[in-house]
Symmetry: C2
Subunit: 458 residues, 2 copies
């Protein structure tokens, strides 16, 4: 065995290639939920102005091809489709998140798999089983990268969806094509060297663009490897590798990448993908659920509220970068906006999180809301994400204090969506009962069908 | 004036848009030298196997279009051409470098300008003067970014050509198109969020790929802005911006970006682009020149050499990542290989730095070479890059010690190529006297001609 085979990248690839994701019924079930959720999230954005803007890209560099652009009733070339589908899936911030990732896995991984499945005619590309296995692997890799890169990566300003997503989606695609050990290592090196995405873009259309660009870069990594362009086979390793530059170094990262592959537990199911019922940033979910409970449990009159305190652990609101948003789109990253909508009885609809000015009434009300941070309040052990909670506390003009605390929000593993709720999400996003039913049937039996059948419905 | 106009990104754009690069004859002359050098470097790689591999990309996503792929007698769509021309220009590591950048400006900037010039029919795109001005601006921006990002950026593992190049080439392209203040800020944000490239790829074909990917990402930033996708206008600013994440923060960066724009001195000329006579990494140039002086000044018999010490300041060999290269391609980043070739009287030809195994004789000889580092030896004040020197010291079997020291190598501002040497480089790279002469004529008079004429000769 050559020395390089002992490198972190090499051992990680060994783990990936030795795993058997289809042996876990739970993982396969979650993969099917994730497919339905991603398709629903794409369709929810089908009329969004941002999607219409990015479609102009199909006129550049010959965008025509065989891959469906989801919800747009059109097809595109593989790299163009990866860019667009990644963008569309994340356009409303309505797609799944994963607490180990601190980002959005499916909207980066699935576009790569769809582009490969639609543009290759090999048996592997046509196989639904292979698609499910590759998706489970992709989420596994992205969640492990998320743990291995450490919390400081996100805190420093990286957008994990872009950085980790590029590598994870590249691995998923390489797995889908059945690439060998050496090829997968090169794909990882080429993806690692393209990883990018800054949180300074949160609240702009560049945020979903990160997902599309990560899909595009992942697919490029696969293509460059197929062209036999040389790459380091040690992209994750040592002093100059991915973890040294973007994270805390190889020694910290290694156990997260290499341990517990034999346990039969998969990250896609545990702690699991977290599916959204509302189209805004998941960091606002705890606060939204707490506000919804306040509305359900107390006789709230907005005019009688003097002050609202929203209490986070230190850093728990890092993603909520907008304190005084001017538009619904910026409001996706504003706990002030989200809680104000709920307390004023506005619906958490797609329409209220678009690039439209925020109503004066809501903007005025937001000024009553203060963020606070506590080091004294203990997170519960099974909070999601770990260490997170949000408390919403209302102080009325009679000095009543009403408060609700949420540690694991709706849609996360401890409050999962039921199959029926997911079917409902698909139905309202598609606005077409018949196609919605056919997609559900296809996904349910995906092991027994070619992927092309599913793709033809998107 | 709104508050944002006082942001670093905004003030930087103000400086860029107020500048008058064509007022400097020296800068215009260097831009013309740079154009010739880039074209020569591309043609030198025209038969390189790596270029043939990446050309397969033109079959993906409809690569056909109006932009010349330099030295390949073919045309491609704008993004494809940016990827390919950036790659081709850097494929042999024969293109210019800049000591403030710690990387390669022209091979990232010029492909973006060529793609725009060849695919737009506006008056600006057709104007040779505008091309020269945009190129000077691009190098200025990249050099200032290089100073502003600090030395640690490269030391940590980033490849400045990729990271800084993405932003600089995007600015150059935005300037070329005459974008307004707000558009240029958005372009900078979109480029900053795509910046990537790791030094762990040095010695592989992914290194020149970084230049191509940076050109591609820069052009994408311009296109996304034209589609009116929203982006932060503050990509370089504050705690989450480019300098906080990739560098040492905004306060360190600001003076390098904002000061001395009125001096009439341009980075393209001072300290200036550094043009190469040999096809390997510029970090090996000091050592190569020292070895060439040894061969010229001493009666060297390779068999009588016991040991060779190559002495750098601490970190001065960071780019020379290959200590025991196996191929000429890896040898582009190996001072051992470069000095061995010279002392064994092999030519520093393109052929000796290709993906071919290194001759046994050379590999054996390399084992006599040791790298050493000195904190005691003082760099001279006008060393290029600042703080750099290399000493090559030979110890013979009779204990003779012969040594030569180089502080500013051939091709750099203190030992510049003459016009005649540049013409000679173009001639040997093109292997076509007539085309070579026409290119020189065209570049010499570029202010008075449309760019299309030059592009038709590439």
């Amino acid at each position: 065995m050559e020395l390089n085979n002992l490198s972190l990248t090499s051992r990680f690839v060994d783990c990936i290639q030795a795993a058997n994701p289809l042996a876990s019924r739970e993982a396969v079930h979650m993969a099917k939920m994730g497919l339905v959720d991603f398709i629903a999230s794409c369709h929810a954005a089908s009329g969004d102005i941002s999607v219409q803007k990015l479609k102009k890209h199909l006129d550049m560099d010959g965008g025509a091809g065989p891959v469906p652009v989801i919800g747009q009733n059109m097809k595109a070339a593989p790299l163009h489709a990866a860019l667009l589908n990644g963008f569309i899936g994340h356009a409303l911030d309505f797609d799944d998140v994963h607490s180990d990732v601190r980002g959005h896995p499916s909207t980066v991984i699935l576009p790569v798999l769809f582009s490969l499945a639609a543009s290759r005619s090999t048996a592997k590309a046509l196989n639904g089983q292979r698609l499910l296995a590759s998706y489970i692997i992709g989420v596994e890799v992205m969640a492990r990268l998320g743990q291995a890169i450490g919390k400081d990566h996100y805190a420093k300003g990286w957008h994990n969806t872009g950085t980790l997503g590029t590598v994870a989606a590249a691995v998923a695609g390489a797995y889908f094509l059945g690439m060998n050990h050496e090829e997968m290592r090169q794909v990882i090196g080429l993806a690692a060297t393209q990883a990018s995405g800054l949180r300074v873009q949160f609240g702009t259309e560049a945020k979903p663009l990160h997902a599309g660009l990560a899909s595009q870069a992942a697919l490029q990594s696969i293509l460059f490897t197929e062209y036999q362009l040389s790459s380091t086979a040690a992209g994750l390793d040592q002093e100059l590798g991915f973890f040294a530059v973007y994270g805390q170094g190889e020694p910290y990262a290694a156990p997260f990448l290499l341990d517990h592959w034999q346990h039969g537990s998969w990250k896609i199911a545990n702690p699991g993908l977290w599916f959204k019922l509302y189209p805004f940033c998941s960091a606002g979910y705890h606060g939204a659920d707490a506000a919804l409970r306040l509305v359900a449990n107390y006789p709230i009159d907005p005019e009688r509220i003097n002050q609202i305190n929203i209490i986070f652990p230190q850093g728990g609101d890092a993603a909520l970068v907008q304190h005084t948003p001017l538009t619904g789109e910026q409001g996706r990253f504003s706990i002030e906006y989200i809680v104000a909508l709920i307390l004023l009885h506005y619906p958490l609809s797609i329409g209220n999180f678009q690039a439209q000015p925020i109503a004066e009434e809501v903007r005025m009300f937001m000024s009553k809301i203060k963020r606070r941070y506590s080091d004294d309040i203990q997170p519960v052990p099974d909070s999601i994400p770990k260490g997170r909670f949000t408390i919403v506390e209302i102080i009325t003009d009679r000095n009543e204090i009403w408060s609700e605390r949420v540690d694991a929000p709706k849609g996360s593993a401890l409050q999962p969506l039921t199959d029926e709720e997911m079917q409902y999400k698909l139905k309202i996003c598609l606005q077409n009962d018949q196609t919605s039913r056919r997609i559900l049937q296809y996904v349910e039996d995906l092991e027994n069908y070619p992927v092309s059948g599913l793709l033809s419905l998107l």
